[in-house]
């Protein structure tokens, strides 16, 4: 059975149809990227999958059960890391929050915190406050907090959108590595075509202003490029270029 399943999910907000009936499935261990222009409902789709938004029609299911609200099994990485971290807690304090919420005994927390900090390469910064870190490092803290939650599913809403190109590429590779090592299932929203192809096993393309003839779900494309991927050679791979062209036509010329 698939881990996550959308069965004709439509979402209306404020009387407007944000997402027209959309169906897809995400299997365990899959890395699925969602792309589309701004206003196409990709963040709303992600929020529905995480239980922050209730579908207006259709069914959003996890393990075959309707999603009724946020769950500890589902972690959410927000784009605005600056606002999603507690500014009054240090790096380890922020990660500790996830463990406190899950009821992990205080004695076990330091070891678990050290472990996730090592995974995201922040072991040396445990006692710093978020304001003392760069944007890329702050986003790593948020990812570490989500890992500490030990979820089966990680939702990522344009997590690298606010970062500079160099930092972004570094974090993409780190994310791909830790997802491969942990077997996490990821739903990753981005507006960057290349990022979606580079990271995803599958790319779902959404279009803005859906109509009955042209529904929200514009395309669903498998990415057959082998892993581990590499910034230079993967982006020169013939499949990469082909997918890039294909998706560009979907999005650029609807």
């Amino acid at each position: 059975m698939s881990l996550l399943r959308f069965d004709g999910v439509a979402i209306h907000l404020g009387g407007r149809e944000i997402l027209s009936p959309t169906s897809f499935e995400v299997g365990r261990g899959e890395f699925v990227c969602i792309i589309g222009p701004s206003g196409c409902g990709k963040t709303t789709l992600l929020r529905a999958a995480a239980g922050f938004v209730t579908p207006s029609a259709g069914a959003a299911l996890r393990h075959g059960e309707p999603i009724t609200g946020p769950s500890r099994e589902v972690a959410f990485v927000f784009q605005d890391y600056g606002r999603a971290l507690l500014p009054w807690r240090t790096v380890e304090g922020n990660i500790s929050l996830a463990l406190e919420a899950a009821g992990v005994p205080a004695a076990e927390r330091p070891a678990r915190i050290a472990e996730v900090l090592k995974t995201v390469g922040l072991a040396a910064h445990a006692h710093k406050f978020p304001v003392q870190l760069s944007g890329g490092m702050q986003q790593r803290v948020q990812i570490a907090r989500c890992l500490a939650q030990q979820p089966e599913l990680m939702m990522m809403d344009e997590p690298f959108g606010a970062l500079d190109a160099m930092t972004r590429e570094g974090l993409q590779d780190e994310l791909a590595r830790l997802v491969r090592d942990s077997g996490l299932t990821v739903l990753f929203v981005t507006h960057d075509l290349e990022e979606a192809i580079y990271l995803g096993d599958r790319v779902i393309a959404l279009r803005a202003n859906p109509t009955p003839e042209q529904p929200s779900l514009a395309a669903m494309i498998d990415v057959p490029i082998p892993r581990p991927r590499e910034q230079l050679s993967t982006k020169e791979h013939p499949d990469f270029l082909r997918l890039r062209r294909e998706l560009y036509q979907f999005l650029g010329h609807p």
């Binding site: 959410f76 606002r83 507690l86 929050l97 304001v131 939650q149």
Partner: protein, 252 residues
């Protein structure tokens, strides 16, 4: 040059004191209202030596602190509730807007009937006076907590209690300190006022006794001391604010 610069702010008070000293020793020597600062200083030492200064200061500060504690805690709890629940805020709006403008000192006669003279009278009026600004400011602070942090709390599955203790209250702290410093000032003013108007205790009562027994030197000594206490209490609140801010990672 450096020492001169440090002295500059003291020039005006020194001149004022010297002028008062000269005036009260010459033209106004028979005044019942004014006394030379040197005499006030003597009266101050005397009050400090016989212990009446400390006893009265302790009473005023103690009842102001206790009243502030009760008023602020009540205001904070209700403020959080109203800030988080629009329904509770709507239900309470009328009562709050009707009760809030009542001048706290107008409550003294009622509080006297209920509590009689003493600590409870003063604490209750101070608590009433500090409750309202704390309620209004903490309600606004709770409403302005970053919504993203509440989503983080939801995603992490924090319990409602943990949400309040670990997210909402810490996020409110910078704004709460504004309320606290306001509350400290109000508490001291109201405590002294209650003592001047009714309660036969504390610094306000002492200054009234000095006035009624025609001891302007002692009265001025109390006036000076109440000012010093006010400055000290405000400095303490400021120090506390800075210390907490530093602990919470704010670069001050």
């Amino acid at each position: 040059m450096g020492a001169l610069k440090l002295l500059r702010p003291w020039v005006f008070p020194a001149v004022l004191l010297a002028a008062l000293e000269t005036y009260t020793r010459t033209v106004g020597a028979s005044s019942d209202a004014l006394a030379p600062p040197s005499a006030a200083l003597q009266a101050f030492w005397k009050a400090a030596a016989d212990g009446s200064l400390w006893q009265a200061t302790g009473f005023t500060l103690g009842s102001a602190a206790l009243g502030l504690l009760i008023g602020a805690a009540g205001g904070l709890l209700l403020g959080i509730a109203f800030g988080l629940s629009p329904r509770a805020a709507r239900m309470s709006f009328l009562s709050v807007e009707l009760l809030r403008p009542v001048p706290s000192v107008a409550l003294i006669p009622l509080a006297m009937l209920v509590f009689g003279f003493g600590l409870a009278l003063e604490v209750s009026v101070v608590a009433f006076a500090t409750f309202w600004p704390m309620l209004v400011l903490s309600q606004a602070a709770a409403r302005q907590v970053e919504p993203r942090l509440l989503e983080v709390a939801m995603a992490l599955g924090l319990s409602p209690t943990a949400r309040v203790c670990k997210i909402i209250v810490p996020a409110m702290v910078p704004r709460l300190f504004v309320a606290l410093r306001l509350g400290v000032a109000i508490a001291l003013v109201v405590a002294v006022t209650v003592e001047i108007a009714a309660n036969p205790n504390g610094m306000g009562y002492a200054i009234m006794i000095a006035q009624q027994s025609l001891e302007p030197a002692l009265m001025l000594a109390w006036l000076f001391w109440i000012g010093v206490v006010g400055v000290a209490v405000n400095a303490l609140a400021l120090w506390l604010q800075t210390a907490v801010a530093r602990r919470m990672g704010v670069v001050v």
